[in-house]
Amino acid sequence: MIVYWLCFILFLVGLYGVITKRNLIKIAISLSIMEFSTFLFFTLIGFREGGVAPIVDPADPVKTYVDPLPQAMVLTAIVIGLATTAMLMSVIIRLYRKYGTFDIREIKNLKG
């Protein structure tokens, strides 16, 4: 149980970074932290105490396997996360070219 809480705390660390940091790069890093905390959470859900990799061997029938589905999903999600991070970075670079700063307080064209 404690590991799930640790995942949640890691998520909150990322959230804290997104909310408080003003540097866009740091925000991107915080987003990645949040992302990875969820990946960790998923793989931990699939983990079984004393389980082995789910390769069925008829000669040696093992009772418990680790659930492979979250692992496969997370593997995909990591790749997608990489792509989104790259996308984020390119947006940040564009923003830097336009505004000449990483400080989000300077970038506020959304202001009502």
Binding site: L15, V18, I19, T20, I27, I104, R105, K108, N109, L110, K111, G112
Partner: protein, 628 residues
């Protein structure tokens, strides 16, 4: 639902109903295809269509109460499942009330289209005739339809054509058009709520088949919602504010057609439906109706007194007259309902007449303000005499029709006073305010007639001519109707036209309109004889009496300054000032509220990312708390 009367026995009626609704609509759509250059031909087509539909309305008049539904109408195949289902929604109701309103809709459409042939020759409004015909078809549809949803469709289309019949040539008139559309549209959406509530309460949407007692909160809300729609259409306080602006900025024939006649007929028709058929009114709601009635009368007439633009002055009167009709329906007695309907018809006659004569003045002089005009009575005698008749009718001078219906309303109020109940106890208040409103109407029409037709003539108007015959002919017909309805009110008009709707009743007081008219004519003749018999040469010349005000040296005849003292009284000055700042305008009030809210919302857009993240997280947390 009620059982449908076999249509086979009445094929001509159902064909007429179908014809009346579909012909103007289709002809109107077809007119969009004809180029604007052939405007005169479009006008002539419209005239022919209006005559044809009027003929159908006359045919239909006098048939027994009927509920028609779609499969019975000619041209639809029997037995199709789709059509059988649609039958629940497409039903038409013919009774005495709708027949009466149909006749007058046709009459006004015909007269105004005759007038428009000349007045609209310049093409002030694009596709004027097409929208005119669509309005005509929708009005017939709204009056005839029995299903509330069908009614709502026609009713909503009328709001759209009202918007298109005004020409947005500058910022002010565009703003007026927008205001009209928003007010009418908002009231229509409130009506949808009311209709949904009725459906919820009774499970039926048929106007003729529903009767809801207003006892619990749900029915009262439904009633108020439908009342809002009716009041906005008819232009009663507090939803009246589009009427004066529309009157000022729209072409005179448009304002004579929609706010002065058709919208009054339809709004009051719907008021009659909801007070007589759909709901059974409780005592508190009667009190509400009566107070709204007198507030409409007094507030609008007070505003009319101080207007300088003569069309706007007429617009405020269009509001104040609605108050009398609401008073009539608020009474709820037979004489009250008959009086309300009679006043509705009378008001449509003289008010469209007044708008048309205002259009004649504008057509020949091009001026909008009373102070720019003067002394037109010699140049435009027909317009002058007809406007004088209309003005006397609206002010309730016997023997014209305005007096006849107002007198019936007063009689109704006096009779109403004998009942027990909170509203009945206050009868003297309603009566006093209604009479006061009538007097103030006369006062403001002295300004209208005096400022435009009498007073000293300006040199620039030396060459003004009378309008063409096609323009004064409708005026003459309307003026004739004013006199006829007034003179034969008690003997012919009310028993023949209005008693079938309201039920037969006896007039409480002694009043025979024909006899009194005879007396009026005799006294006028006597007065003329005395005048002629005495020596004419001996008379004094005096300055014009201007109500004890100080004469202004620069103005020859300062009619527009009449009643300016009103605005300087202590309490009234505050009210007038607030009214000028549009504190009583429900449109401006809601506009301010919407702008304030959106300002508040735009304040929250700081443009900073962390702020948005906090909002998003807070939203997620609240959602989780609700869902878990």
């Amino acid at each position: 639902m009620n059982d449908f009367i076999s249509i086979a026995s009445q094929p001509s009626v159902s064909a007429a109903v179908q014809f009346m609704i579909l012909l103007p609509l289709l002809a109107g759509l077809a007119l969009f295809c004809i180029p604007e250059k052939l405007r005169l031909y479009k006008g002539l087509i419209t005239l022919v269509v209006s005559i044809l539909t009027a003929y159908q309305a006359v045919i239909v008049y006098g048939t027994e109460n009927l509920v028609l539904c779609l499969p019975g109408l000619p041209g639809t195949t029997q037995g199709s499942e789709l059509i059988n289902d649609a039958c629940r929604y497409i039903t038409f109701n013919l009774d005495k009330l709708s027949e009466l309103v149909l006749i007058f809709i046709s009459l006004f459409a015909f007269l105004i289209i005759l007038y428009s042939l000349i007045y609209m020759r310049e093409g002030k409004v694009r596709n004027y005739y097409a929208y005119f015909l669509i309005t005509l078809g929708c009005s017939y549809g709204a009056v005839l339809s029995d299903n509330l949803l069908l009614f709502l469709i026609f009713w909503g289309l009328l709001g759209l054509t009202l918007y298109k019949l005004i020409h947005g040539h500058d910022e002010e008139s565009s703003a007026t058009a927008k205001k009209t559309l928003i007010l009418i549209g908002a009231s229509d959406s409130i009506m949808i709520i009311g209709i949904a509530l009725i459906w919820r309460i009774t499970g039926s949407l048929s106007i003729s088949g529903v009767s809801v007692p207003t006892t619990n909160i749900l029915t009262i809300i439904a009633f108020l919602a439908l009342l809002t729609g009716s009041f906005t259409k008819a232009g009663a306080f507090p939803f009246h504010t589009w009427v004066p602006d529309y009157a000022k900025d729209a072409p005179a024939s448009s304002s004579a057609y929609m706010p002065a006649s058709l919208d009054k007929l339809l709004g009051i028709y719907f008021l009659a439906r909801i007070t007589m058929n759909i709901f059974e009114l409780s005592d508190g709601l009667r009190l509400l109706l009566l107070s709204v009635g007198v507030i409409s009368i007094i507030s609008a007439v007070m505003m009319a007194l101080i207007q300088h633009n003569y069309k706007r002055l007429l617009g405020f009167h269009a509001v104040s007259q609605v108050g009398y009709m609401i008073l009539g329906f608020g009474l709820g007695s037979m004489i009250g309902i008959a009086a309300g309907l009679f006043h509705m018809v009378n008001n449509a006659i003289y008010k469209s007449g007044l708008f048309l004569s205002a259009g004649c003045v504008g057509y020949r002089t091009g001026k909008d303000e009373i102070e720019d005009l003067g002394g037109l009575s010699k140049m435009m005698p027909v317009t002058f005499i007809t406007s004088l008749i209309f003005a006397m009718s609206i002010s309730g001078v016997p023997p014209f029709n305005g007096f006849a219906s107002k007198w019936m309303i007063y009689q109704g109020i006096i009779e109403f006073g004998s009942g027990a109940g909170a509203a009945n106890k206050l009868w003297i208040l309603w009566l006093a305010l209604a009479v006061l409103g009538s007097a103030l109407t006369l006062a403001s029409f002295i300004k209208f007639i005096g400022g435009i037709f009498l007073s000293r003539r300006k040199t620039e108007f030396e060459n003004v001519k009378e309008v063409p015959a096609l323009m004064w002919l409708p005026l003459a017909v309307l003026a004739l109707l004013c006199i006829l309805f007034g003179v034969f009110a008690t003997k012919v008009v009310v028993p023949r036209l209005f008693m079938p709707v309201s039920g037969t009743f006896e007039f409480p007081g002694f009043w025979d309109s024909s006899f009194v008219s005879l007396l009026v004519i005799i006294s006028l003749a006597l007065g003329f004889l005395i005048y002629a018999a005495l020596n004419l040469k001996k008379f004094r010349r005096e300055d014009s009496f201007i109500g004890g005000e100080k004469m202004q040296e620069q103005a020859a005849y300062p009619t527009p300054e009449f009643y300016k003292t009103f605005t300087e009284f202590r309490l009234l000055s505050v009210i007038y000032k607030k009214a000028e700042e549009k504190w009583f305008d429900i449109y401006d009030l809601s506009k301010r509220f919407v702008l304030w809210t959106s300002h508040l919302l735009s304040e929250t857009h700081a443009g900073l990312l962390p702020g948005y993240v906090v909002w998003a997280c807070a939203g997620i947390i609240i959602m989780l708390m609700i869902m878990i």
